[in-house]
């Protein structure tokens, strides 16, 4: 199960309503994922030289201001922090790697769940509507947002095991499906120096993209490579600074639907999550093709069919079943 949703506003007049428009999309997917929910929101880009870090802590009374002050003192940086329930957004001009090391060495239970110039990640256990409300997301403005409602299969129901998972600066991933080679891939990525915060299979997909992007591979290429290296079934939605991208595995058995009007582009596991958007009745609606990267942002939509579809697009299991039944 699990539900994923994405909304990219093409009409600037709608920016102030992003949080209001997105809420029913996420809530409609509650039946697909009642265990936990999360969103990545893109807004208020910080100044050049600054980075915005999404931080989370299990203790709602965590001393976030103390953390920000200590970071400024230790790294000789200017920092500010704003708490939202169990999360806080830290903006600092310190170097990204130094902040990551400083947080890791502090061992105070603070989790670094995302970073970039405009991304903000919020995720918690509980029903999607309750999660959305505890972070006060109905009133947020911005251009685009992606979200996930989780029905746990591969790992525990925890905040750390919730989506989205960060994959680099202003990048994050939500996943519907399940990966079968995540244990081996996790070990391989660990050997390459990638760190993990959970036993979640989707985090491995995020870590894979992180590693590819760190190597200088483009996002599109990284997503295409994922089609070769990730074994399992998946629909991924990747949030980027400019928009979002969608890709499905070559078998494409996990649901996905795309809709577009002059005002917005939306992606969801099921159309009912899109039905509440203004003009949805007259939207252009279609199912994304397998092994094809769709992306929005910048100059609009870019569709890249992957030309090296694996020869095994017809699943061996299907052939075996067919043979057995004959």
């Amino acid at each position: 199960m699990c539900g994923i949703v994405g909304l990219f506003l093409k009409n600037e007049a709608l920016y102030p309503q992003l949080g209001t428009l997105f809420k029913p999309m996420l809530v409609e997917m509650t039946s697909r994922g009642p265990d936990s929910a999360g969103v990545a929101l893109y807004r208020d880009p910080v100044a050049d030289g600054e980075t915005k870090f999404s931080l989370a802590h299990d203790d709602r009374d965590h001393d976030w201001q103390g953390l920000s002050d200590a970071l400024s003192d230790s790294l000789g940086a200017a920092s500010r922090i704003e708490q939202r329930d169990s999360h806080a957004m830290l903006v600092t001009d310190a170097e990204v790697g130094a902040v990551e090391r400083w947080l890791a060495e502090r061992h105070d239970g603070t989790r670094l769940i995302g970073s970039g110039r405009s991304i903000e990640i919020y995720k918690e256990t509980g029903l999607p509507e309750a999660v959305y409300e505890r972070f006060g997301l109905s009133s947020v403005a911005g251009r685009h947002m992606i979200g996930h409602t989780r029905m746990a299969t591969e790992s525990a129901v925890t905040s750390a095991g919730s989506h989205p998972f960060a994959t680099g600066a202003d990048l994050c991933l939500v996943h519907n499906g399940s990966l079968s080679n995540h244990n081996r891939l996790r070990e391989e990525l660990k050997r390459k120096g990638v760190t993990f915060g959970s036993e979640n299979d989707s985090e491995v997909a995020a870590a894979y993209l992180t590693w590819k992007l760190r190597d200088g591979v483009s996002l599109k290429q990284a997503m295409e490579d994922a089609l070769d290296d990730l074994d399992g079934f998946f629909t991924f939605c990747v949030g980027t600074a400019d928009g979002f991208a969608v890709v499905r595995d070559p078998i494409a058995c996990k649901h996905a639907v795309l809709a577009e009007t002059d005002d917005w582009v939306a992606m969801a596991t099921e159309f009912r999550a899109i039905a509440s958007l203004p003009g949805a009745d007259n939207a252009r609606i279609w199912e994304p093709r397998p092994a094809t990267v769709y992306s929005w942002g910048g100059d609009g939509m870019d569709i890249a069919s992957v030309d090296h579809l694996p020869a095994t697009v017809v699943p061996a299991s299907a052939r075996a079943a067919a043979g057995g039944l004959h």
């Binding site: 099921e270 159309f271 009912r272 009745d281 007259n282 609606i285 199912e287 299907a318 043979g323």
Partner: protein, 239 residues
Amino acid sequence: MSTPATIPKRDAAQTLDLGELGLRGVNRRLQEHAAGSNETSWTVENPKGQHAIACGLDSALSVDIAGHVGFYCAGMNQAADITVHGHAGVGVAENMMSGTVRVKGNASQSAGATGHGGLLVIEGDASSRCGISMKGIDIVVGGSVGHMSAFMAQLGHLVICGDAGEALGDSIYEAKLYVRGTVESLGADCIEKEMTPEHLATLTDLLARAGVDADPADFRRYGSARTLYHFDIDNASAY
């Protein structure tokens, strides 16, 4: 949503607001149709992508759904004539027995799955696995279909006016496939077959009944090579 102009004008008594009645309310009203009743013509408003709309109908109703529907719309249909004025989600008209289901927009995967009879028309594109395990249904797609369409198709006709994705007709039995555009690849045991006058007549009739303007002469026919019907030890490595 304003009612599309293509839907016949009906009075309020023949209009079911799904937002107001809920899915079960709408389906109960349609399924409770009494034999001999004159209330044979209905409009369903505010479908909002909900699942299983107009499922299990078993009388000769005419139902127009004014908008996009979710999964399994018009499933198990018998005798009813159902039109979706929008997009249809996964499994539209699955296991249909008879009647007609028409989708004015595109359809997601597994359209017409396991259908036993009747006519399913998708005016736009259908996604993957269209007509999977079809057992006698006729399906006419105005656009293209995705991969693995007509997988293990047993009986009936699948007419594709556009292109077909990978592995068309994989492990097909006796269903007949007609494609006007290109076929990305044929599945196991599916081959191109001769278009005889008899097949041309069947195709002409299907296109006419679907209301699709296409020249039957532009189509090619595909079907089973019948080599997978019985297990053959020499083919073990291929399974």
